[in-house]
Amino acid sequence: MDTLVTIDNIRKVYKRDAFEVPVLNGISLEVERGDFLALMGPSGSGKTTLLNLIAGIDRPTSGRIVVDGKEISKFNETALATWRARHIGFIFQMYNLIPVLTALENVELPLLLTKFSKKERRERARTALNIVDLGDRVGHYPRQLSGGQEQRVAIARAIVTDPSILVADEPTGDLDAKNAEETLELLRRLNEEFEKTIVMVTHDPKAALRAKRTLHLEKGLLAEGQYGHAVEEVAG
């Protein structure tokens, strides 16, 4: 396996008025291609910030982030947006679908930034919806779908451009147990069958169990393996 993400001594400090709030304090880590990494930790530990940095929606105060051979920490806003469109698929806790668009149109959205024809876009969006088993819901609006179905549409939107990495921020946080299970199973399939690299933030030890690797963050520092035992205990 080769390294897809390299994070080298990353620091992130937020400025709140006159105060500086350090969130990440010199984290280094590598994510292999095809990995399924779970980031866990208490609120404020910096796991979402780390996820945002890997996804290129936030920039580090210092340090280096290299994804698929590109040092994205040096990119400007415009370059980052273009890079995200090609390499990142987002899955949010609250699904964040566009309510005025149908499931098919929501999934098609990232493809509007490509040069595909309308027919090609629609075909790809249908394929993505079929993968998440929602091929019969293409014309439904988000309000006409259950929470679990909405999250699956969001996953279809995340995979439709065939990105290098899927980043998921608490993907089961707003779902009941059954839908959470289905969503996690879908992520596992995407990782194993479609060889998608996934980085997932979660509070849920059961969710973390689906990952191949779990990292624990505490006060902006990494504690690899520490949480693995807890996860295994829950699973047992």
């Binding site: 929606i57 947006a81 949010f92 005025v100 959205l109």
Partner: protein
């Protein structure tokens, strides 16, 4: 074009709000189009004249009449082809709402000085032969069912005189659609042979000579008790309109206030709409939409909304004034009133600008929003 669906869906994401906003925009632009068209009509001063006429009136005001003797002196000015004394009388038919532009004229001068009234020769001859005869407009005849030979009474407005007239001719003037002519002798006899009239019209041989002729005429009476001012027909109409006060400034003020009001109202609506979509904008940016694209999409959406509302209002105004006789409704003030192409263009541009101005700030804010801030705000 591939973003058209997204823009369209966002415009109508809150149907009630979109409908109410469109209704408000349509109403405001109907009003603005009307006011600008009235201003344009005044500016145009479209009297439908022949272009070769001058009019002499008192230098003091139209209420000061000029002695009949002036006519002969004016006629002798080189370049003057013919002259006609006229007198504004005004009045209404049956009801005070039915105002007419009643004027007295030397009966034998209608054809030579006012050929643009297009009167059949036989009817004109009948008018000249009947001291109480009247020439009425085709529109008035149609409106009130007048026919040749009908007896009509016009009620007084200025002078103590209710003319009882017989319709002898029907004129087909393209603009003066509420004009009625009666004979100057009948008017003079009825008010006691005053021997004065408020205007003397003159036809010139060459339009290039008009400035010289005007100066010569006014110089003739400069030191008399009744000095004159001589204008072209267009200038005269402009002066006449200005007697109503500075209507143009008033209408422009109302138009500008209306536009300012709609900009503020649209800005509130658009700010609400943009604020509701902070998370959505953040998601769009996360999946790769550039800030410039977000700005373009939102501005296009807001400008489309105001443009659509504007088009409904402007289109409504065009159709409304095509189907309504504004001349009759305004007692002849707005004859031939219409929303002209220039006014339509101005209003359409204004409608789009309202969207861009009102939606500018929320769109810029949305485009500058960072993904992290946008997601954090609701999630």
């Amino acid at each position: 074009m591939k973003f058209a669906n997204l823009i369209f869906r966002n415009i109508f994401r809150n149907k009630l709000r979109a409908f109410m906003t469109l209704l408000l925009l349509a109403a405001i632009f109907f009003l603005v189009a009307t006011l600008l068209a009235i201003n344009a009509a005044f500016e145009r001063n479209d009297t439908g004249g022949t272009g070769d006429r001058l009019v002499t009136q008192s230098a003091f005001s139209l209420a000061n009449m000029l002695p009949f003797a002036y006519e002969e002196k004016i006629r002798r000015v080189p370049g003057v082809v013919d002259t006609a004394k006229t007198q504004w009388i005004g009045g209404y038919y049956k009801d005070t709402r039915n105002n007419v532009a009643l004027m007295a004229i030397d009966p034998n001068k209608v054809e030579s000085v006012f050929p643009d009234y297009k009167i059949p020769p036989a009817e004109l001859a009948a008018f000249e032969a009947d001291r109480t005869g009247a020439i009425v407009s085709q529109e008035l005849a149609k409106r009130w069912g007048w026919k040749i030979g009908d007896r009509i009474t016009i009620k007084r407005q200025i002078f103590p005189f209710d003319p009882q007239l017989t319709v002898r001719a029907i004129h087909h003037h393209p603009v003066q659609k509420s004009a009625i002519w009666l004979q100057m002798p009948y008017f003079q006899e009825s008010i006691g042979n005053f021997g004065r009239s408020d205007m003397i019209w003159l036809k010139v041989a060459k339009t290039d000579d008009m400035p010289r002729i005007s100066q010569e005429i006014d110089a003739l009476f400069k030191n008399s008790n009744d000095p004159t001012e001589t204008y072209t027909e267009k200038e005269f109409t402009r002066q006449f309109v200005s007697m109503m006060g500075n209507v143009k400034v008033l209408f422009m003020s109302v138009s500008i206030s209306s536009i300012a009001m709609i900009v503020l109202l649209a800005a509130i609506t658009m700010s609400m709409s943009a604020r509701e979509r902070v998370t959505e904008v953040a998601v769009l940016k996360a999946i790769g939409f550039q800030p410039r694209l977000i700005l373009t999409l939102m501005l296009t959406e807001f400008a489309s909304l105001t443009l659509l509302g504007g088009l409904i209002g402007i289109g409504g105004a065009v159709l409304f004034y095509q189907s309504v006789d504004a001349g009759a409704a305004t007692q002849g003030l707005l004859e031939n009133f219409r929303i002209d192409p220039q006014t339509t263009t101005i209003c359409v541009v204004l409608a789009a600008l309202v969207g861009i101005i009102a939606g500018g700030l929320p769109s810029i804010r949305a485009s500058r929003l960072t993904v992290v801030d946008g997601l954090r705000r609701v999630v």
